[in-house]
């Protein structure tokens, strides 16, 4: 049943993405100032939203692990972080391509970009530290602390365009700027893409969770074999 649900979610994500791609490329006109390249926005913004969501889940799971000491929360945290890092890389890559066309450079050290990179490095460090600890409960405990600390940085990335005068475009989305700056059709395309990305991310997290659970079972069996 669980597998069927996952397949269904994955298929739904694919259908939405293809339908959306058709609409974005052929249905919606070019943006007034930027021309065709602005279309990368439809992937850039949703992938950042998805990674924020994944890191939010990971942060929450880390706190829950600290409180409840249930290894299932640790499994959720690591799965969400891995998927989040993947979407962070998509966000950084799409942003870089856009910057190359509009700004003429691949990268600039502006607060928003810098913080996005910090977030990426932090969570890469999180995954790296997990590799260094063999004992499962010690690993979960340390990862929970690091996950809680790292989430503070995600919050700063999100707010960076409000706090500093950055080169990164300011808030235009209706949820941030209060509407009127963006055509509803464009906004809906972003929302649909985000829906598809979230479905995709949920499927990936679910697959990672089952992998991690299996891994833990194998470890437990190995320990039992050793004991005998």
């Amino acid at each position: 049943m669980r597998d069927k649900l996952l397949y269904a979610a994955g298929a739904a994500a694919t259908v939405i993405l293809i339908a959306n791609l058709h609409k974005i490329l052929l249905g919606i006109p070019d943006e007034m100032d930027q021309g065709a390249i602005y279309r990368i926005l439809y992937f850039h913004v949703p992938s950042w939203f998805t990674c924020f969501a994944a890191f939010f889940v990971a942060g929450l799971a880390s706190v829950m692990y600290s409180v409840k000491r249930d290894l299932r929360y640790d499994v959720l945290a690591v799965s969400a972080v891995e998927v989040g890092v993947a979407f962070t890389l998509v966000g950084l890559a799409t942003g870089s391509i856009w910057a190359r066309i509009i700004w003429g450079i691949w990268w600039t050290w502006d607060p928003r970009l810098t913080w996005a990179l910090i977030t990426c490095v932090l969570y890469a460090g999180y995954l790296m530290m997990r590799q260094m600890i063999d004992d499962a409960s010690a690993r979960a405990r340390f990862a929970a602390v690091l996950g809680t600390f790292s989430f503070a940085s995600v919050a700063i990335t999100y707010k960076a365009i409000d706090w500093w005068r950055t080169q990164h475009p300011g808030p235009v989305l209706p949820i941030r700027a209060g509407g009127g700056k963006m055509d509803p059709e464009m906004w809906h395309a972003i929302l649909w893409n985000w829906t598809a990305f979230m479905l995709l991310a949920s499927v990936m997290v679910a697959v990672r969770i089952s992998q991690e659970t299996r891994l833990r079972e194998v470890e437990a069996l190995r320990r039992r074999a050793h004991a005998i």
């Binding site: 600290s66 260094m132 409960s137 405990r141 340390f142 600390f149 706090w163 500093w164």
Partner: protein, 228 residues
């Protein structure tokens, strides 16, 4: 009140043992001096304009490098004779242990940092900060506290890891970026002999907020870090 008292006991113990052996003080102090001298190759020492612009960044790089040396020793010192287990088993609260450790590292790091200011000024002929030394010391105090309180948590986390010396900077530097960035900006302003402008207030606010948030997080998570 009890927390402060216990923390003070731990800090006093750490400071006493460090001031008797001067192990990490000598290492960090010598290291800071070498780096300060190496900076003469960054630009021509005669170019005071460039040096003023770079000063904050250069100084805080020295402090960050020296800081990690001191922080690495902070918990590693307790490994011999299983002192860490004894500390954890003692009636001390984990929060007091972390607070005491960070207070001790704070004082040790200040012992290294404060002489660096006049040495840096003297070596590179930067004298305009003499009118703003109070502000500069304030920045050093705030920045150093942020560094040591996070450093103490991660020193405890990484003390039993393989590749401890590598993992501590890997995890700590990305987390420290907010506080280092603000400290660099503010130090540059003060070293150049200018007053704080409205634009710099955000950096000051960020640094204070960072110190408060991460001190609270460190104390709240102390038990997870220390007690297995």
């Amino acid at each position: 009140m009890r927390l402060i008292q216990q923390a003070w006991t731990v800090a006093a113990k750490d400071l006493r043992s460090e001031l008797r052996t001067k192990e990490s003080l000598n290492a960090a102090g010598g290291f800071a001096l070498v780096i300060l001298v190496l900076f003469s190759f960054v630009t021509d020492p005669g170019e005071t304009e460039t040096l003023y612009a770079l000063s904050g960044g250069l100084l805080w790089l020295v402090f960050a490098f020296a800081g990690v040396l001191i922080l690495n020793r902070s918990f590693a010192r307790e490994q011999a004779n299983d002192c860490l287990d004894a500390l954890i088993a003692s009636p001390l609260s984990p929060a007091a242990l972390i607070l005491g450790k960070s207070a001790a590292s704070f004082v040790l790091l200040l012992i290294v940092e404060l002489p660096c200011l006049p040495i840096f000024g003297g070596l590179y002929g930067l004298s305009q900060w003499s009118s703003h030394w109070l502000g500069l010391v304030g920045v050093v105090l705030l920045g150093t506290w942020g560094m040591t309180v996070i450093g103490a948590v991660f020193s405890a986390l990484t003390v039993n890891l393989r590749l401890r010396e590598l993992m501590l900077p890997m995890l700590v530097y990305p987390l420290l970026i907010p506080v280092l960035m603000s400290a660099m900006r503010l130090s540059t302003v003060f070293i150049s002999g200018k007053d704080l402008e409205a634009d710099d207030a955000i950096w000051l606010r960020l640094m204070i907020a960072f110190d408060i948030i991460f001190t609270a997080l460190a104390l709240a998570l102390a038990e997870d870090v220390l007690v297995s």
